[in-house]
């Protein structure tokens, strides 16, 4: 997309690998999977909060990448930006098709049993799960923006291209999302061990 920071080394590597794939090099498929797969899966998992759904979305997104490979126009959008956008759209479509509450109860695990394992480890797990649970309570657009900004560490212009909104809208969504998350987690300070002073 126009205006994105130039990281020509990484961008051209993905495009070169995609061209090699189109030419019939299956090693390129493995390399692209290892470079892009974890990022696609991580974003899907954080947004959906469900591992099986995240795997399905990731597989579908990569399949669309393989299909578009012969027609990929070099010098345009980054491969990673395109893939993030596909993942996000698939996630949103999935959520729309699902019926029921926005909060996927299966995605928020039960608090760990304090009787098992070292307290510090359990506390870490609890905090990890608390973050995911709080993310699932955000409106979808805020969740998207927060995941892409603070977990994937993408720049605002790239997030704007992925979400098809303005940079100002991205900044507003991430700020509101982050404030909402902090508020949700504040209610669980004691449980998460944040009242040590």
């Amino acid at each position: 997309m126009d205006g994105l920071p130039d990281t020509s080394g990484a961008v051209s590597d993905d495009e070169r690998l995609l061209a090699c794939f189109s030419a019939g090099d299956d090693r390129a498929a493995a390399l692209l999977t290892d470079r892009l797969g974890p990022r696609a899966f991580g974003v899907a998992l954080r947004f959906l909060g469900n591992r099986a759904e995240a795997e399905d979305v990731t597989q579908e997104a990569m399949l669309r990448l393989w299909r578009i490979a012969p027609d990929w126009q070099s010098g345009g959008a980054r491969v990673s930006t395109w893939l993030y956008r596909v993942v996000m759209n698939l996630c949103i479509d999935l959520k729309r098709r699902q019926r029921g509450a926005d909060l996927d109860l299966d995605a928020v695990p039960e608090p760990p049993d304090p009787a098992k394992g070292p307290p510090e480890q359990l506390q870490e797990m609890a905090r990890h799960d608390a973050l995911q649970g709080a993310l699932m309570q955000l409106p979808e657009r805020q969740r998207q923006a927060v995941v892409l900004r603070h977990l994937e560490e993408l720049a605002n212009p790239e997030i704007a291209a992925i979400m098809d909104i303005s940079v100002e809208a991205v900044e507003s969504l991430t700020a509101r999302g982050k404030r909402a998350l902090a508020g949700l987690l504040a209610r669980r300070r004691e449980e998460l061990g944040y009242d040590d002073g």
Binding site: F21, S22, G24, D26, A29, A30, T33, D34, G37, P38, F41, G42, R46, E55, T58, Q59, M62, L63, W66, R67, A69, P70, E124, R127, H128, A130, L131, H150, L151, E153, K178, L181, A182, G183, L185, A186, Y194
Partner: protein, 140 residues
């Protein structure tokens, strides 16, 4: 909630983000296998499509052989008579005609009688049987 508590909450949230980023790992092995299987299938399909796109041009460039010309003529004849259903009717009519000729039904007169060639002595205008036969042979 005080301003200090809010800032503390933001710092804790940032720490949780740092922890979450450090936990990102490889994709599950089963997922990786499925992605690569999809890639392999797509690659094969795309390579086949490329070959198909090239094939018609190379075929058109080659001159038609005798067999190809025969096939073309056969197709043109078939189109002229009205296709396979019409061809089937023609074949059936031909077979029926041959069968009637070889084994005609009773109500169909003997074609030989229709020619009115007499071979009996009563019909002969001449008393000499040999001369009648000679005339009969001339009429065949």
């Amino acid at each position: 909630m005080t301003m200090a508590e809010t800032e503390d909450d933001m710092q804790r949230l940032n720490a949780l983000f740092d922890q979450a980023r450090s936990e990102q790992s490889e994709i599950p092995e089963g997922l990786r296998s499925r992605i690569l299987a999809d890639a392999s299938l797509c690659m094969q399909q795309q390579l086949m499509q490329k070959r198909e796109n090239l094939a018609p041009a190379s075929v058109r460039a080659a001159p038609a052989g005798v067999f190809d010309r025969f096939l073309n003529a056969a197709r043109q004849f078939l189109r002229a008579v009205g296709g396979w259903p019409a061809m089937g009717g023609m074949v059936a009519a031909t077979v029926a005609g041959v069968w009637i000729g070889l084994a005609p039904p009773e109500f169909v007169p003997d074609p030989v009688d229709l020619v009115q060639v007499a071979t009996t002595a009563a019909a002969m205008p001449f008393e000499n049987y040999d001369l009648a036969l000679l005339l009969d042979e001339e009429m065949e």
